[in-house]
Symmetry: C2
Subunit: 303 residues, 2 copies
Amino acid sequence: MGILVVGSVALDTVETPFGKITEGLGGSATHFSMSASYHTNVSMVAVVGEDFPEAHLQLLKSRDIDIKGIQKVPGKTFRWSGRYDYDLNNAQTLQTDLNVFESFKPQISADLKNPDFLFLANIDPVLQLSVIEQVSKPKLIALDTMNFWIQGKKDDLLKTIKKIDLITINEGEARLLTGESSLLKAARKVQAMGPKTIVIKQGEYGALLFHEGHVFSAPGLPLEDVKDPTGAGDSFAGGFMGHISKVGKVDLATLKQAVILGSVMASFNVEQFSCDRLKSLTKEDIQERFKLFVALSQFESTY
Amino acid sequence: MGILVVGSVALDTVETPFGKITEGLGGSATHFSMSASYHTNVSMVAVVGEDFPEAHLQLLKSRDIDIKGIQKVPGKTFRWSGRYDYDLNNAQTLQTDLNVFESFKPQISADLKNPDFLFLANIDPVLQLSVIEQVSKPKLIALDTMNFWIQGKKDDLLKTIKKIDLITINEGEARLLTGESSLLKAARKVQAMGPKTIVIKQGEYGALLFHEGHVFSAPGLPLEDVKDPTGAGDSFAGGFMGHISKVGKVDLATLKQAVILGSVMASFNVEQFSCDRLKSLTKEDIQERFKLFVALSQFESTY
């Protein structure tokens, strides 16, 4: 199988200067999977409440995402609401109701225990570690985290980080985790914690890849309209991991292209609310946007 | 001749978390020229006071910069002092003493009236226009400006912008000038004001080039140590214009490489206080760093 992703499925209420959506399909595992589904097979492990709309599950299935690992349990689905101002880089959380997500204990069923690639979306590092312990060693274990865990559960996070191959983290979090303002120094410090590959997400500015001694920078694509940045990081991770899983190996050339594919998918994600833009892309849409990134960043290298 | 630059020469007192310099050689025309001098011939037009240290003039001369256009007049040299916190993207101005710069009226002498390339560093747009009117049409006129003029002299600025081919502006200023939060939309609006080429500077994140319908993104090079960002934009412009002048034409391929060379020079500039790092670079230093930018941004473009 391709990728196993463990994370959240949520109902998001989001307001930006460009509109509002109420209880749209959201969550880290959702954005990740919708994005990755264009590149590889994905199986989700997550939890929802009894109130979770069947239509959302159907949408995931329509993208050939394996949702057998989404448990439906008594109670309400995780809800998040937030707002973005004109500076779309920072979300202001208005309300978080964990609901059934509060007691989420990911159980990996027998048929999901042998993933080629494992993505641990942003959840409690203790749960992330429990997932690692339940699967047989994948080709690559990647993890996403956030300031909440860096500040509140740093020891647990460090224990989990030791076991992984790759981390995706935004630049503020990288600085918070390491105490270094230089991202180059921060990346080296994170490498010393375990993972040899670090992806630092920079919002509209793109992403930096640190792999062993190499550094690569993917640009942010200047967009006409950014409607809703929610899930940008997760759809980035989905395109990134999806491409690695499709190629089936983890070398520098693949990782570089994967960062670009991650950026391609994130650039689609932010063009509409929720996962709306990721519902019905075509191969051609993705190839065309990949070419935009080529034009955006390639230059005559003889000097 | 190569480039004519008109701008400021100053004595800068700068404090960052990494050190302090008192009355170091600064000013927009200075950083620009020191940087451009590695690529082409540069003539400076600027003003200094009687207190201006002879050693600074000697330094400029040692880089083969033509300083005949630097007038020494009675009074004190322009002084600026500022501070940067850990977020090195934003300077906090502590004091500005314009001194002799306050009554600066650039007079272009006969031997400087035929530049191939003209760079109008960040000064009053009325003075920038007066320079344009004094020279015979160069191959390219480029201009830098800042929020101070956008807010205080917008009509004059728009009049000047109409006459130029290229503008360098930082992202906040591009948004301020156009009222657009999307940089793509902002660039198009600026193009409608006159210049067909826009360079949007993004500090540590690099720079965006908009040329006719094309968009190009130069990455910021992740650096071990950034000591002093003062002059980053001007040394960027110096490398950028220097390369264009060296190549002698203004097509997309040249402009793309020029943005990279600008980024190369800016990355050196910020590694030391004042112009210290730009005093004694070698061709090999520049080529080596250019290669870092190639490795940083090139990826397999077949997908």
